[in-house]
Each structure stands twice: as structure tokens, then as C-alpha cells.
Symmetry: D2
Subunit: 365 residues, 4 copies
């Protein structure tokens, strides 16, 4: 069977997902086959041009019929238009892959999760970083006990695309649209990785900051207030006794997609950074020092599908591996993770950081 797929969204994420589907069979010949059937967008001209580039058979400007008319629906649009199309699709038992974060607020995320529970379809949240080989290996090592009890987790996702005060206002600066700034946008990746690898978070205390509070907005009489955070910081306590610190920024000079995680335990330590995503630093207490693993060996997760040792892969490959697992789950009717429960779990923590920043107190999850 070939699965017909529909996408809502054709920006940066649309391209990453379409490219992943396009490449899947050549590298994973046993993957279920798909057909890029319909690309959904409001502007007919734009969506038609994008459909041509991304390899879709047809376009739709009304999502309502389109999302029930496919086998799989992928929502890659902005956060505030995730819920309605996704719920509609799930109600028709159409499988769903939704970009993170699930929604702009926890209430909406729960509605989506409930729709997923009621549906016979598979509902997945796209936390693609889980599917990088080095991150998979990190998870494996920890599951095998390589770190013993986890003591400390450090997660960050720093960027600098707003450090220049002359950079104009955009929708991510507006709380009513985006929900929050860094904490929801990039913080959700950190939170998901940490919970997936280490376990559930019990409580959190955090702080949101907006250093640059106004930006030029040519279409808004000159300037407009920034109502989302451009930095967040949080301390976390996990249920298993580990503690941690998370940070995110859009004003961290010189940092570009600096998505990193560092974990210390009783028997070892391990760290990962997106800038060098084919590498891990790992130390067992049996080793004298850290080893700098190059995760490009045939035995490493997913790497037998790619190139000989040392020929590194890129960021985009995470989506290919994610689709491989997602489609296999559909084909074999087995549960897929990260699901909407995972999406809600992340959103609860995002929400708690925002509340904590207002109350100045630790918030239980």
C-alpha cells in the first residue's frame, strides 16, 4: 500500500519534511511507500508553486476537506493553526504528524491529545532531534546504564537572530500568536530531549526576559512592542532525583541553532551538540577521560543506511529517520513515540516556566 500524504505548510519545515519523504526509499528500501498527494495553503499561487517544487500532485486552499481526504496529514504550519485541522483529521482516523509545540497553550494541546486518544489513527509530534544517530546512541547508552543514576542535566538551545536591535518585528515577537518566545519555540526541544532521555520533570522554576522590548515594524507606523521573551532560564527537578538547568536565547551572540544537552551521572557523563551532530563526548568512570565519539559507524543507529565511516550527515537526516519510524508504526499498527502525550508533557513544562516567571516560585508539573 502507498500512503497518500497531505501537508499544511510549505516554508522551511515543509521543505524539510518533503525532502525526507522524497529520499526515504532510496536509503530505507523497506520503508512503507508514500505519495505526496496534496499541499494545503491559503494563497493559491504560492501553494501551487510550492507544490511543484516539493513534489505534490495537487493543492488545496481549504484544509477542511483536504485533511480527511488523505491517509496521513502533516501539520507544519504555525502553532496557532495546529489544533483544528489536526483534530478534524484525527476524527476521521487520518494519521497525523504535527510539528512542535503542539499548540500555543496547554489547554489547546490537551484538546488535541484527547482527540488523539479517541482516534484509531496514529498521532505523532515531530520532535525530530530524537532521530539523530548521535542522540539515539546517547539514549541507548543511558538505557544500558552507562551513566548509572542521573545527577544533572544541562540543556540549551541558543540562537542570535534577534541580537541586532535593528532586526524588525515578526510574528514570533507577539505573544497572542506565538504563545511564548524562546521557551515554547526552542525550549520545547530541550524539554522533550531531557524528558525522553532522563525522565519526567517534577517541578521547575524559571525566568523569561525580554531584553529588546520594541522593534521596527514598517507596516505598523514605525515600531511595535515585543511581547514574547528573547531569553529564558529554568532550574528543573526530575522525578528520579536528577536536577537540571535549561536555557534558550535569541540574543546569544555567535550562537546558531546551538541545541546541546549534557548529562552527568554516577557512572559516566555524555554530551551532544547540534553544531557537531555526528559526534558525542562520552566518559565512563572506567575511562580516564572523555572520548570524542564520531557517530558514523555502520553499527550506529541508522548509519548503515548512509555512507562509510567519517562521511558525516546533516540536520535534515533526522526527518528521514523520523518518517521511517512513523510510517513503520502506521504500517504495523504499533504505537509511535513521540506521541501527543509527549507533546502535552512538553507543553505542561513550557507552561510551568511561564507561570513560574510570573510568580517567582517553583511550579509542580
Amino acid at each position: 500500500m502507498t500512503y497518500d500524504i497531505g501537508f499544511l505548510g510549505y516554508g522551511f519545515m515543509g521543505k524539510a519534511h518533503a525532502s525526507a519523504l522524497d529520499r526515504l526509499q532510496m536509503f530505507f528500501p523497506d520503508a512503507p511507500t508514500t505519495n505526496r498527494d496534496v499541499l494545503i495553503g491559503r494563497n493559491e499561487d504560492s501553494v501551487t508553486e510550492a507544490a511543484d517544487q516539493l513534489g505534490f500532485d495537487r493543492v488545496a486552499t481549504d484544509w477542511r476537506t483536504a485533511v480527511t481526504d488523505v491517509d496521513i496529514f502533516c501539520n507544519l504550519g504555525p502553532n496557532h493553526i495546529h489544533a483544528e485541522p489536526v483534530i478534524t483529521a484525527l476524527e476521521s482516523d487520518v494519521h497525523v504528524l504535527c510539528e512542535k509545540p503542539l499548540a500555543s497553550d496547554i489547554g489547546t494541546a490537551i484538546e488535541m491529545r484527547d482527540a488523539a486518544r479517541r482516534s484509531n489513527a496514529i498521532a505523532a509530534t515531530s520532535f525530530n532531534y530524537r532521530y539523530l544517530p548521535a542522540v539515539q546512541l546517547m539514549k541507548q547508552l543511558i538505557e544500558e546504564g552507562a551513566l548509572g543514576d542521573i545527577y544533572r542535566v544541562k540543556g540549551r538551545y541558543n540562537q542570535d537572530w534577534l541580537v541586532d536591535p535593528e532586526t524588525p518585528w515578526n510574528w514570533r515577537c507577539e505573544k497572542d500568536i506565538a504563545g511564548s518566545g524562546t521557551v515554547g519555540d526552542v525550549g520545547s526541544h530541550t524539554i522533550d530531549l531531557a524528558q525522553w532521555i532522563v525522565g519526567d520533570i517534577e517541578s521547575i522554576v524559571g525566568s523569561l526576559t525580554t531584553h529588546i522590548t520594541e522593534r521596527s515594524a514598517p507596516d505598523q507606523d514605525g515600531s511595535r512592542a515585543v511581547t514574547t521573551d528573547d531569553e529564558y532560564l529554568a532550574l528543573v527537578k526530575f522525578e528520579n532525583g536528577a536536577e537540571g538547568v535549561f536555557e534558550g536565547s535569541r540574543v546569544a551572540t555567535g550562537r546558531k541553532a546551538d541545541n546541546s544537552i549534557e548529562i552527568y551521572g554516577s557512572d559516566g557523563a555524555i554530551s551532544f551538540s547540534l553544531r557537531r551532530l555526528n559526534e558525542l563526548r562520552y566518559k565512563s568512570t572506567n575511562d580516564r577521560a572523555y572520548q570524542q565519539l564520531l557517530v558514523t559507524e555502520p553499527d550506529d543507529p541508522y548509519m548503515d543506511a548512509w555512507w562509510p565511516s567519517g562521511h558525516i550527515i546533516g540536520w535534515e537526516h533526522s526527518f528521514i529517520h523520523q518518517y521511517y519510524e512513523f510510517l513503520n508504526s502506521i504500517a504495523t499498527a504499533t504505537h509511535h513515540r513521540p506521541d501527543f502525550e509527549d507533546g502535552v508533557a512538553v507543553q505542561r513544562v513550557v507552561d510551568a516556566v511561564i507561570i513560574s516567571s510570573e510568580t517567582g516560585k517553583w511550579v509542580d508539573i
Copy 2:
């Protein structure tokens, strides 16, 4: 117009090239379009399975008719079967892309180059590393004079896939098939990068070594002699007064595709390493220290086609950029580099290292 393409070879390189063609339009919509028409191989079952995976319309077990029956012929097979199909194609004015090194010896490479001179078609050698964004930026900076006069060049391509003496014999260990060991195989990449970026080599002194001289060969009564080098070293003098050192190895423990180049000049220095292929280290004499450039900005070569800053790309992307340029050359009937002259130029240097290793003297190119 859509160009029909034929491939000879469907191993590691076949996959890299097929994937590049497959992806080209989505990321470079203005690229000429191609059709993967025919895949050539001797074993009908294997080639049929590969054609299916790599997206070819049909297969051929006899290259003679196949290579003249397409618009573009890509020879991705072992070195000793490069010449005849390539020359046949060029004689029919079929465009050719041939993997490096052009041939197992300089005489054959010159025959191929002469065929290219006589042909109306475009003949390209696949030195794909030229097409990595960081390498392109390195070339640009040097052309703009960022390094001033070049003083010293250090190039290496180290691997360790033969460091284990238990690793069995394979065809790359046999001089009659492979021509040479490291110097032709990985050395050709170093030589091409150095000549492309710095200029022509004038003379060279080198040394080939074989540390492990016998390997198990189950099909050969137990073991077989290794007749190619597992390491080479060379000192080089360039026509413009620069000097350099090249090295290659298959027994350098812990090194995997360690393709690196480091260049010092009167006004600056710059270095690149494949392991972190999205990065450059660069110092101008005006700067106090080295900068670690992350070459993922939209202004960087080819990067506007890809992802936002900091989302790194992989080794395979070099082939996409190479096909973009090669196909554009065909479509616009303009000369393409690296051509067969470049292929011969590399082969001359490879040859000189082999001669020098025997005579113990500097060899003029």
C-alpha cells in the same frame, strides 16, 4: 529539455550520485532537469535491484550501446574500467562525468583527456570536495587575497580501515587493479584541492610505505600479498613559491575520512577539515586570533538553498552542488571545471610521487 543519464557503477558512489540527482530540483529549482535512464552493470540481477532502488528506468549489462544512448554518462566504477566507456561516450559527443582518479596510470588518463579534447561534449572529473560550501568559501577568500602570498599548504586524507591486520585483502590492495594505494585513492583529493586553491605543483618528493604486507584472502589459499601502499608522504613545491606537505593513510588509528587542508600565507591562514565540514578556521593578520567560522549563513556558497543558520549539511551535499554546476555547464554550453585536464594534472602528481618513492629524488611535474 530533460537530459537522459546513464550510470556505470551502483555501489557507494552510485548511491551518492543518484541521490544528488534525485534532490537537485527541490533545492535548486532552476537546475536543468534529468532523467535517470539507464544503470549499467554486469550482473543483471544486482543491477536490476539497484536500478529499482536508485530510480533508473532500465538497466544494461553491456556498456557499449548504453553509453552512447544517453545525453550524459557518469562513470562511477573502479578506476581500471574508466577509460574505454568514457572514451566511447565522448566520441559520440555524450557528456561525461568520471569519478577520480581518471585512470590507474597516467598514460590512460592522457588518452581520456585527448578524447575529451576531440569531443564536442563536456568532460568532467568528479572532485566533489570542491563543492562543499566551506571549501568554496576558502577558495573565494584566497582569490580575494585574504591570505596574500601563499607560503605553506598542508593536506592530508587519513583513514584507518586497514589498521587491523585481520582485515582481509581486497582489490585496493593490488597494484595491478588499483594503480596505487593511498596516493591515488585519497591522495588525488588532496592534490586536486591543493592545485585548485593554491596553483600548479612544480616538483615533489615522496614516499610510499606498506606496513602490513600480507592479508588473509580466504579465496586465495589463505593469504595474499599487499602490493599497494597503506601510507604516503610527500613534500611539494608549487610554481608560485609555496611549499607543502601531503599525507594519506589507511592505518591512521582513529581517523575516518580525515580530509583536511591548512594554508598559511603572508596575510592570513585558513584551514578546513571534513569531519566538521560546515566550519572553517580563519585568521587574518588584522585579527588577533583565529575565527571559527560556521559556514551556514545564507550568503555562504550554495547555502541559501538549504536551511537557516546553524543547521548543518553533510558530505553528500557536495554532489548536489557539483551536479548543479555540471548540468548548468551543459545547458549553457560553457566550459566546466574540474575537467579532464584537471584529472590529468592530478594523475601526473600521483605518478610523480610513485616515481619519487622509487628513485628517492625530487621529481619535476
Copy 3:
């Protein structure tokens, strides 16, 4: 004039301080001269042997007379024996250099500070890391505005000497003696560096953890409870609007004296790590990327006293530079920083972290 100096303490710190005094004149010929007059300790045999090794003229087993009988008194003993001898010395207008943290609790630290205010002598706290050339350069750059407004500060001091649960109990595990664990011991360095470079801390929320709660104690019927933290984490807000995160650990596998600070601002970023204490990473928003500065140039702070470029110095050199400044302050009767106000300021923050860890709330300083 040659200053007679007395030391209380002859362990690791005693050696670092004695060596610094010993070397001062050869490298800073204009420094005031000193005489290592008296070494104070309770055990006459041990202190006599140490005095011989460290170059003291005589020993004393009673600090009371000794500390008033010198020009300068350096208290390098454990925290709980700082106060009384220091106050006694100051009351006799003997100059004092006291190791950090000033005391085991804030009340005692304030008593010491008050004694310093009443005294005509100079009272200094030994925050020696301020006197590393790279840290001095960091401070200079920030004072000159190289980072603009400070946005974020990350400080850490991680170690792993207690990660092995078999490591026996020692006095640093006992709250009644040590005051606290990591937060007072290594955290005080982080806090001082951050406040010195960035400015005063306004409020803090933190968490102390003890992962290994019992350790073997052969002299205590087998084992003994650990009553101090082996890790701390804190979020901080500075008066100038910067935010930060601090961490310290004795159970961070693979980290040895990992004293690092990283600062981001509107116009640049800079970081330092003790492991590579001759280096800084610095990025101006005018530069494309981080520069890796090697702080061994003759123009760098204190470096004209040492070796040619690239010949690195070590941890111990910080004490030499500190004594150079401390003695010059005495000789010229000018105020010296870090003084006891700085020592109290650090202690207040240490105290606030401990309180916050108990109350779960942000604490104003």
C-alpha cells in the same frame, strides 16, 4: 622596607602562597620586598617541617601573639578558624589577606568586615582567579564596552573528587565545620567573578543537592552522614538587568577544577575556562565568529613579566599577581580589592542560595 609576613596554614594553599612570595621579585623587581617570618600551626613538628620547606624563619603554635607580631598576616586555614586571628590582627593594624570564603556563615563574615572597617590596615580576600591574565583581559574588554549591555552570565565550577561513593568522608562533608558544600567552597569563586565582572546580584533562586548521603569513616564506627551539598544550581538576577545561571559540583564525572565563565551581551560574547587558562573565546558583533585568543602577548595583563608569546603559564601564577597588587596597595597606602566588603558580598549570595534551597523561593540579596 621589607614586610614581615606570617601565615596560618601550610597545606595546599600555604604552598601556593609561599611560592608566590618566593617568586615575586624575580619577575616583578619593583614589588615591595617581604620576609617569610613566621608559620603558625598547632602541631610543632609538622609546622617546623613545613616552615623549612616553605622558607619561613620561625614557627608559632599559638596564633595570638604571632598575628600581631608581623606586618602582614595571611590566613590560609579552614573557614571556621578565619575570624578570630584575622580580627585580632586587624585590631593591631596588621594587614590581612584571608582565603575565601571569609567565614562559614554570613554573621561571622560581617564581624570580620566590621573589624576591617575599624582598622587602619588593609584587609584583602584572596579571590585569586581575578588575577589570571585572561580573566583580567576579560574584565578590561567588558569595561571598555566590548560586550555592550550584559544579557546573560553562566558560571560554573565543577569537580568530580566525590563522584566515587567509596571516597571516604572528610571535613568538607560536615555542615557544622564547612558551612556548606559546593556553594561556599567553589561557588564563592563563581559568585565573586560574576559580581566583579558583571555587577551586583539582586536576587537568586537555588537548589542544593546531596546525591551521596553517607560515606565511610573508619574512625567513626564505619560510616558517617554527609550533611553538605555535593551539587548546587542557581538562577540569578543582576541589578543591571543581566540574568545568569551558576552551578557547582563535586560529582561531575570527568571535571577537574572546571572553573568557567561565559558572558553574553548586546555587542559581543566572551568566555573563559580554567582548564585552558591562557585562552579566551571572544566574539564581537562586528566579527563573523568567535576568536580563540591566546592571552600570552606582552601587552596582555602581567604577561610582560613572563615568557615570549605562546609559552603558557599555570594556575599558581594568579597568586603572584595577587601579591604584587596587594603589596603595592600596602606600600602606597591605597585601597585594595577584593577587600572584606567583597568577601561579605559573596557570602551574602552563598547564604541566599542556601536559604532559597530551603524555602523554594527567590531571595533578594
Copy 4:
């Protein structure tokens, strides 16, 4: 017994040696004691001032009587004034430590070596880098077989103090005084480390270059020719079958005292760099990847004399360890290495590089 010591030379090296002697007893209490007796120099005012700073009892402007009037004579002057005072001292059975390279040419070096053979005194060459803890550990690991058979050695010592063409002429630019440029000056360190760790060199081919051939010389009517090399490169073959490449430069932008060595063998690889002289990178074939060793543990060579783990030492410490061994050899009348045979062995290789650069051929040692 306390040994009276005389120094010839009180520049950069004089200070490094004097400081080492000054510090020895505090950190190595069992070391033989010494007295800095006489400092030798031609200019009475300068030498008197230096003697005061470096802690010598008296000065001498005529070396002839001074060098026989002490127990130990250290020649730290320029290369061309090494031989005569050293031979004179040895003829009186005065122990000698001579800075490297032994002489400006091989003939003179052999005369010195012959004098050492005839003498009852101990004659040592100051190859201080052997005495860094990380280098000692490297040597130990290799002696224990950690690398198996050595395949390849890469040694370099790059600097950039002559990269600016405006830097004026100095005596190191004149062949008649200095003997050679980089190859004798910094190359001698590389050659000694390589031969000490790997074994004797059998043959070598090399090239000397002078990129900047004239420099300003205010006292010489404006400018003066540069007659020494500012870069050298060499390929080497060791008697045990290993091969290698050496390089040195004074025009390698951004490199300061970049003294590095990297060794690959059948069972592992290891590398060291002076910039991070407390570290080693080491990989056994049993490990997946390189470990980054921090060589500051109490078990590491000489480190129990210094500070707790992670508190790094500097370049100058190599001299302290060297004197510890040299003085112990004297006190126990046991042979010391590196001796003058080692000094001659280095000089032979320096000489061979110079000859090879002229003849264009491999030169047997």
C-alpha cells in the same frame, strides 16, 4: 653538599633556568641543593643588574676563570659561544648543562661531545620539553607498548614572529651567527622529541625556504639580507621502519610556540601540543575514540609535587623537572640524558636537512 652554579647568559633562558633552580627545593625537597654563585656576561652593568634580579652572588665578565670555579656550569648564551666555555669547563671536570642546539655546526658539536667523553663530569643538553609531564606520560605509554609498532610521526614547531615583513633584521636572520633558521632553532626540539620517543632517524629529505629575503636594519644603512630559512619541511625515515614529517616556521600566522607531536602506531595513536601542555590526546585500538587526557593527576609524572587535579602548570615547569633529574644525576654520579651524544644526534639531523635542501636528495644520517 651544595653545588655552586655559574650561568653564562641572562636573557629569556637565563631567567627560565634561574627561576627553576630557585623553586626546586620547595616542590622537590629531596633535590640536591644549589647556590647561584656567578653570572657571566660581557657588560658589567647589565650583568650586575641581572645577577641581582636572578639571585646570583657575584658576576664575572671573563668566562675563562668563572667556568672552572664552580661545580656546575650552565651555558645559556647564543649558539656560537657554546663551545669554548663548555669545553673549558668539562676539561676541569665541571658539570655542564648546555642549551640546544649544542653548536652552530656539526663539527663544533662533535668537538664538544668529545670533550664530554674525556671528562669525568656530567654533560647535559637542555631539551627541556622532555620534562613536561604530558610528554613524559607519552613516552611512558609508548615504552609500555600502548602504540605497538610506530607507523608515523608528525612533529612541528611553528611560530609567526617574522610574518610581518616590517619586523627588523636580527641575529637569527644571519647564517654565520645562527647556523640556520628554523631547522636548528625550533627544529632541534622536534628532532630530539621524535628521536627520544620513536628512535633513531635513518635518512631525511628536506627543504629550507626564506620567504622574506630582506629586512630593515637601521644600523646597516637601511636593510640587510636574511640568510637563514624562515620555514623548513622534512620527510624522515626511522631505523625501526616508522616514517614522519617535520615542519617549522617563523611565518605561520597565528601560531605561537606551536610545538606539537603526533604519533600513530599499529595499536594506538597519541598527540601533544605545547599550547595545551597539560593535555594529551590518546586512542588505543581498544577504545572507540580518542580520549582527551588531562595530565594533572597525582600519579602523572612529577605532578604529585604540584597541585590538585585540574590545576594546570606552565611551560616553565619543564626546567624545574629537568634540573631535578640533572642534579640527581650529579649527586648520584649516574649518567644523565639528554647528554651531548643526544645533542650531536640532533645536530646531525639538522645538518642533513640543510644538505638535503641543497642537493635535493635523501641524506643518510
